[in-house]
Amino acid sequence: MNRRTVITGMAVRTPGGGSTKEFWDLISNGRSATRVITRFDPSPYRSQVVGECDFDPQLENLTPREIRRMDRAAQFGVVCAREALADSGLDTADLDPAKVAVSVGSAIGSPTSLEHEYRILSDGGRHWEVDEAYLSPHMFDFMVPSAIVKEVAWAVGAEGPAMMVSDGCTSGMDAIGHARDLITEGSADIVVAGGTDASISPMVVACFDAIKATTPRIDEPERACRPFDRTRNGFVLAEGAAMLVLEEYEHARRRGARVYGEVAGYATRCNAYHMTGLKTDGIEMAEAVRHALDEARANPTDVDYINAHGSGTTQNDRHETAAFKRSLGEHAYRTPVSGIKSMIGHSLGAIGAIEIAACALALVNDVVPPTANLHEPDPECDLDYVPLTAREARLDTVLSVGSGFGGFQSAVVLHGPRKAAA
């Protein structure tokens, strides 16, 4: 018996995207939401442009206690999980909680809260031997980020397998891949799966400054992230979350659920090369793409759109361009490729899930979102990167890829609702 996995609910919170509709309006219109840091004084930092969510936990109906005990990443996750479940039309009263699982991707857990507590415990960095008298009872849950998973599981009433997948910047995609596997093997019928990272804290900004991975561009903040453009010079750090309801196909069909698409193939590989560096050949990412296509029983020529990692670094652009050519051959030149990080920045462990949500919306709407800020194509990157303006196209099979610190290279193949129903 071949159990298939379909997407029946989703919710996102991104810069400029306070709801799924706002998110899709933003990216399908090629608008960027990156801006200069407002959450703290940006002036000491090399990189000052980020993607921030306008997220108010009170307006999102979190209770005072939820707000107190949850890091911002957990807040994002819980809000999205509740909304995704509502979007799916599932009634939790009808579900066996043992068959509901949770799979959350996060690269860095709870840095905002960790840093906040650290500053208090050390009195602003003055003391190495921190003062226990100022210890918060929530500190442990900030240290160990599976607390985020706990909150999501409570929010949706899950009692099946629950865990965090933390593979750096492929976490969100890998969490959805793991969720798909839980359904395939029969460990769950429903998985609330996605990614969340609340990365806009001084510690995170400073660490990417230290390796010059983020762009120092400050003028025209909305034009800071420029994947595949000759003038790009780093990624734009962002925060956000996406949660999907993944459901076993027959389960969804029996209840007449709306289907956004099918998670038809997934694979991850490692480059075993460098914790932060990429080779230009894209070999391991190509291997992941080939394997994901195999799982989806799709040929390279079936791929109608590639949602690129498109972080806005030179090494990434060349790496994945090579990977697409290596895995799709000549078809790579005929396939639209775009990077939505140009509009919402790079939210680390969340972005892989956000991009899968974007792919599902692209499939439902038959629209390819564009790569914003692409005015001067890098001659080394010679594919069709859909500059500036969205494109209508019949989409039945799309590919999304991700690349992460630690060397992780992942790929997901989604089929659209027409193909999923076939």
Binding site: G125, K150, V165
Partner: protein, 404 residues
């Protein structure tokens, strides 16, 4: 279906830096729980499972020292030990057929602490480039992948103390789906001052007067756990591949795995540990009577010990199976704890002996479990159940069996 067997074990524990030293210490009741000291500062808890004989310069290549937190150094060492024990040359299996999936819970806390002190004490320009990756949860998996050329399916999982079993279950799935070898397990370390008091913030850390009274799971005097560092990394291989290369050892098979989550507070529904154990047994195709020993989570707090004892009795019947908690000698190792228990279970199978909990544990008779106390119990051991719980409601169970 392909079968996943453990062919190599790498242990890094407070009471032993090699598998055999750890095993001898575990059988003899030699503890790695010691006083944790931080200059003149006194914290409310002062005993931890500390590794005191790890020589960074000898065990880790010098070029990796600046870019690694202690947790990663311990993990690299355990991974190398596991390869050596398996007599598997990483170069021979490097490529897409080999992966690494470890659990991690706290990240490289000491390194984060050091860099945050620089950030807030001296300013952003003083922050090390290594903060960009050396503390994060995927760091151990990534560094091991790079060091040994492992390019196959790999991951890092977080589910507090239960995550180590999840990593093993995840890796078994990779093997079943065609990966010939996965390094799996988990290693943890967060014993800097900030890490130490963060442990304390769990509200469940013991504050005993003496090290030998520190961690007394299922005892009448249980008053919390002791945080520790270390863990285990194992070579998990497709059995056919292990046969083909004439692997010198097959410690056992990962025959069953399951994970569950406790219901949200206030629902009145039963906790999930029993279901995890039952599902893992069903996954292995075994009945409770087939199990020779249970390695319990052994939280060391009366409420959690009682809940676990009830789950064990519900599955097996009262006092129907020997139970042990070897982590009483090393502390709670978070992501490293359950993999070390799996390694211990495999050694029990190898030597037909169940290690005891220390004699200081006076079993609470109300729990109705057959706790192995004081002296090792020499009985045939063919199949073991390992249980783990993670703070917040995570439950995982693994069944290991003697390799056929």
């Amino acid at each position: 279906m392909k079968r996943a067997v453990v062919t190599g074990i790498g242990v890094v524990a407070p009471n032993g830096l090699t598998t055999e030293d750890f095993w001898a210490a575990t059988l003899k009741g030699r503890s790695g729980i010691r006083e944790v000291e931080f200059g003149d500062t006194r914290y409310s808890a002062r005993f931890g499972g500390r590794i005191t004989d790890f020589d960074d310069k000898r065990h880790i290549p010098s070029r990796l020292l600046p870019q690694t937190d202690r947790m990663t150094r311990l993990a690299l060492y355990a991974a190398e030990s596991a390869f050596r024990d398996a007599e598997l040359d990483p170069e021979a299996v490097a490529g897409y057929g080999s992966g690494v999936t470890l659990s991690n819970a706290a990240g490289g806390f000491a390194l984060s602490h050091r860099e945050l002190k620089k950030l807030w004490g001296e300013g952003p320009k003083s922050v090390s480039a290594y903060l960009s990756f050396a503390w994060f949860y995927a760091c151990n998996s990534g560094q091991i992948s790079i060091r040994h050329g492992l390019r196959g399916p790999s991951a890092a999982l977080v589910a507090e103390q239960a995550g180590g079993l999840d990593a093993i279950g995840y890796s078994r799935r990779s093997v079943r789906r065609g990966t010939r070898m996965v390094l799996t397990g988990g290693v943890e370390s967060a014993l800097d001052p900030w890490g130490w008091i963060s442990h304390i913030s769990s509200g469940r850390v013991a504050r005993p007067a003496a090290a030998d009274r520190a961690f007394l799971p299922f005892g009448t005097d249980a008053a919390g756990y002791v945080p520790g560092e270390g863990g285990a990394v194992m070579v998990l291989e497709d059995r056919d591949e292990a046969d083909a290369r004439r692997a010198p050892r097959r410690y056992g098979e990962i025959a069953g795995y399951a994970a569950t989550f406790d219901p949200a507070p206030g629902t009145g529904r039963p906790p999930g540990l029993r279901r995890a154990a039952e599902n893992a047994l069903a996954d292995a195709g075994l009945a409770p009577a087939d199990i020779d020993v249970v390695f319990a989570d052994g939280a060391g707090s009366p409420d959690l010990d009682r809940a676990e004892a009830e789950a064990i009795s519900a599955v097996f019947g009262p006092r129907a199976v020997p139970v042990s908690v070897p982590k009483a000698l090393v502390g709670r190792l978070y992501a490293g704890g359950a993999p070390l228990d799996v390694a211990t279970a495999l050694l029990s199978i190898r030597d037909d002996v169940i290690p005891p909990v220390p004699a200081a544990v006076e079993p609470d008779p109300e729990y109705g479990i057959d706790l192995v106390v004081g002296e090792p119990r020499h009985v045939p051991v063919r199949r073991a159940l390992v249980l783990a719980r993670g703070r917040g409601g995570f439950n995982s169970a693994v069944v290991v069996t003697a390799a056929a």
